[in-house]
């Protein structure tokens, strides 16, 4: 049997790929869009039997991130897997299939005064894509990233078997936490098909307190003052702004408490504006053809000379730098950043990608390869997209 027939036999939506469906220029042969977990598993099994290289596609918000695949036979599209499987409102837990946009979850649970406290810097990111890329936004400071909010994960393995870890309760230490392992694994270990998240109650009130500080050192002092105070900010973000660096602190909570906390932040920032809406740059990726993500301890802000132009910094220790430059200049900038921090190039034009090491140095790489070899011994899942050629 030809691969496309084998796929069509188990999956209700299979077709040859269109020319514009390439993943960073690598054109897949087929696109399969299974209608649910069981179908996805059968599709993966068929792909295994035919030795097909598989890349998962959700809402296509980060498909052009990372490195191009070494090969791609099957694009496994999850958009038909978009059911909210269960919302246990009394338990503050929701389960959804991988293709479900995060916004859809929030719309569903909002009716019960709840929310998934995960910011999506790109509108309509899917559950699977968000987990696979470990994407998070400003509120990571208080609520964490996907690794912290996923409490159960169902995946389809390279061999087509369905495996589950975690569960539907927040407190659970039975077995290894594959949710954390798969968070940020870029589709190289298996296909994420369903996830269970813990939810939080929606806050009654939110305030954004902003001030522009003259430079990084001053911004650092201000951020430190807020972090070491007991106001419990949900997020503290910085961005390059005219006249220096704008620091914006998000405070959320009960209506009776937020104004006092916002006032306190305002005085810690040396007098600041309190608004109900965030500044325009809040929770977005900065503009540019290249996006660099920087990871460093919070105090790195003091010497963040890179925080100019299209750049933001989260007090959780994550920076984003948008660049509009050629390979040499980007390489120079990235190398400078890597002298002191971890810096990963999220996306970049092909000449830039070719000129530098997108992922940068990776500790414990050999251990990662061994784990990869266990999950995907034939290296068929998103081959070459990840660190060290994984």
């Amino acid at each position: 049997m030809k691969p496309i027939d084998a796929l069509a036999k188990v999956c209700s939506d299979v077709r040859p790929a269109y020319p514009e469906e390439g993943v960073l220029g690598v054109l897949p042969r087929f696109v399969a869009a299974p209608a649910g977990v069981a179908e996805a598993a059968e599709t993966m099994r068929a792909a295994a039997e035919h030795g097909l290289a598989v890349i998962a596609r959700g809402m296509e918000t980060r498909l052009d991130w990372g490195l191009p695949p070494q090969r791609c036979d099957l694009l496994l599209d999850t958009h038909r897997m978009d059911r909210i499987v269960e919302h246990a409102a009394g338990d503050l837990v929701v389960s959804a299939e991988a293709g479900t946009p995060i916004e859809k979850i929030n719309a569903e649970v909002a009716a019960h005064g709840q929310r998934l406290s995960l910011d999506c810097p790109i509108f309509a990111s899917s559950v699977g894509g968000t987990i696979a890329t470990a994407a998070a936004g400003p509120r990571r400071l208080l609520y964490g990233a996907p690794r912290d909010l996923v409490i159960g994960l169902t995946v389809v393995r390279a061999d087509g078997k369905i495996a589950r870890s975690g569960g539907k309760v927040v407190k659970n230490v039975a077995g290894y936490d594959l949710g954390r392992l798969f968070a940020g694994s870029w589709g190289t270990l298996g296909l994420i098909v369903e996830a269970t998240f813990r939810l939080h109650p929606v806050c009654e009130a939110t305030a954004y307190v902003s001030a522009v500080l003259p430079d990084a050192a001053a911004a650092h002092e201000a951020v430190q003052a807020v972090l070491h105070s007991p106001v419990v900010p949900a997020a503290v973000e910085c961005a390059a702004a005219p006249g220096g660096i704008e620091v914006c602190v998000m405070v959320e909570g009960v209506a009776a408490g937020v104004p006092a906390r916002a006032d306190r932040v305002s005085s810690l920032l040396g007098g600041a504006d309190v608004a109900e809406e965030p500044p325009e740059w809040w929770g977005r990726y900065p503009d540019g053809t290249t996006l660099v993500e920087i990871t460093a301890p919070p105090a790195a802000l003091a010497r963040a000379s890179w925080l100019t132009g299209a750049a933001t910094w989260s007090a959780s220790g994550h920076g984003l730098l948008g660049l509009e430059a050629g390979p040499e200049q980007v390489t120079e900038t990235v190398n400078e950043l890597r002298a002191a921090h971890t810096a990963v190039v999220r996306y970049a034009p092909e000449p830039v990608r070719d000129a530098l090491d997108v992922w940068g140095p990776v500790p414990a790489l050999s251990l990662m390869r061994r784990v990869k070899d266990q999950f995907d011994p034939d290296h068929r899942l998103s081959p070459g997209r990840f660190v060290g050629g994984i």
Binding site: A88, G90, D91, L92, V93, A145, R147, D148, V155, R157, K161, A163, R164, S165, G167, K168, V169, K171, V173, A174, G175, Y176, D177, L178, G179, L181, A183, G184, H200, V202, E204, Q224, H228, P230, V231, V232, G253, A256, G257, A260, R261, P297, P298, A299, H318, T342, V344, W359, G360, V362, P363, A364, L367, M368, R370, V371, K372, Q374, P377, F386
Partner: protein
Amino acid sequence: MGEALTRLAERFTALLGADSVITDPVRLRTYECDGLTSHRATPGVVVLPGTAEQVAAVVRACVAEGVPYVARGSGTGLSGGALPRTDGVLIVTSRMRRILDIDIPNQRAVVEPGVINLDVTRAVRDQGYHFAPDPSSQQVCSVGGNVAENSGGAHCLKYGFTAHHVLACEVVTPDGEIVELTAGGPGYDLLGVFVGAEGTLGITTRITVRLTRLPETVQTLLAAFDSIESGGAAVSAIIGAGVVPAAVEMMDALSIEAAEAAVRCGYPPGAGAVLIVELDGPGSEVAHQFAEVERLCRAAGAFEVRIAAGDAERALIWRGRRSAFAAVGRISPAYLVQDGVIPRTSLPKVLARIDALSAESGVRVANVFHAGDGNLHPLVLFDDAEPGATERAEEVSGAILDLCIEHGGSITGEHGVGVDKSRYMPRMFTDTDLDTMQMVRCGFDPAGLCNPGKVFPTPRLCGEAPGVRKGVHPLVEQGKADLF
């Protein structure tokens, strides 16, 4: 002692010095169990390394001899996660107990694995910080053990577990390499899976923990109810109102009786259940929500609500709860502690079923639990001197775990699977689920020497590709392993 162990003991003495190696059988026996005494095994050799390099050297020596090894911290685990191997080496981290760095601007501290959990908080409290995971054994358990077990505690309802508070670990891998695993770096989140792997993926030798700002205000109340049901209703009402308490704890009449006997905590007499609710955070926030919590408790039928007026009164309220496990020793010669989790909304149903189980079997069950996250700690009481009592208690204990699984919960919320609950894992997970988890283990520890026999009921043979059978493996033939 076998030949391999004898050779290893000599090697360790050369590497670490004689005062860091224990071979005397009487001394070895004191290490035969951790906090779970129902499983015992005298280790072949005990070593007490002082540095990561020594741990790595010990591990390499074990690997060279094909001898299994187990790491142990303070030995307080409640699932036998640090149960030694009679044919193996026990690596004890109790001498690696330096706090290496406290970095307040970056809200983190770097500690060795033997550092006691509470000592981290003690070291930073004056600067307004704490290490948030607070297992009941926090005054004695080690941070390395917390990492292995992904320890939680009463306040993890709001603050999360150890996994959320560890930023990096230096790890001696099962092949004796020293690597640094970090959260948020490029590549797989190996730290995420290492934390909570119960010591089966390596031994951590240095831990960078997140420090959390101490809350401005802490408010604690104790509410007494006639029954567990009305207490449970109060919990549902509180969570339903959108309050995220720092902790919500409940005790039933039997556990109150035990705590009263042990520490004279003075809980309201005649209570069928007491609920402890603690809120913390910014003052204005807490004041508002605390009034709401108090109202909801009364509305659910609390016949007495006590509000702690200060730290001393708060400590008094917590004293009963914190002592509950050990206190049960005063009302029963022996007991089993379970650690099952259920969705919070199933609490009334499951507790009623536990009551029924207890009545049918005649085995007393005291209930102490983290009500906010549905983590039950049923204490199954029995007299180990009475023939058949242990078996009956274990039966009830197992039936309670079945109830948890039936209601979509977990067999363990914070104690870990260890050796105690590995046999229940197949009730919660399919063979494929377990096989998939073990792929991680095979990646880290293909030889299967690092804390073998824990977590998983049956080891996976790492040489085998999943789903592909290549003749019968000798271990399968001997009945020592199964293929999935």
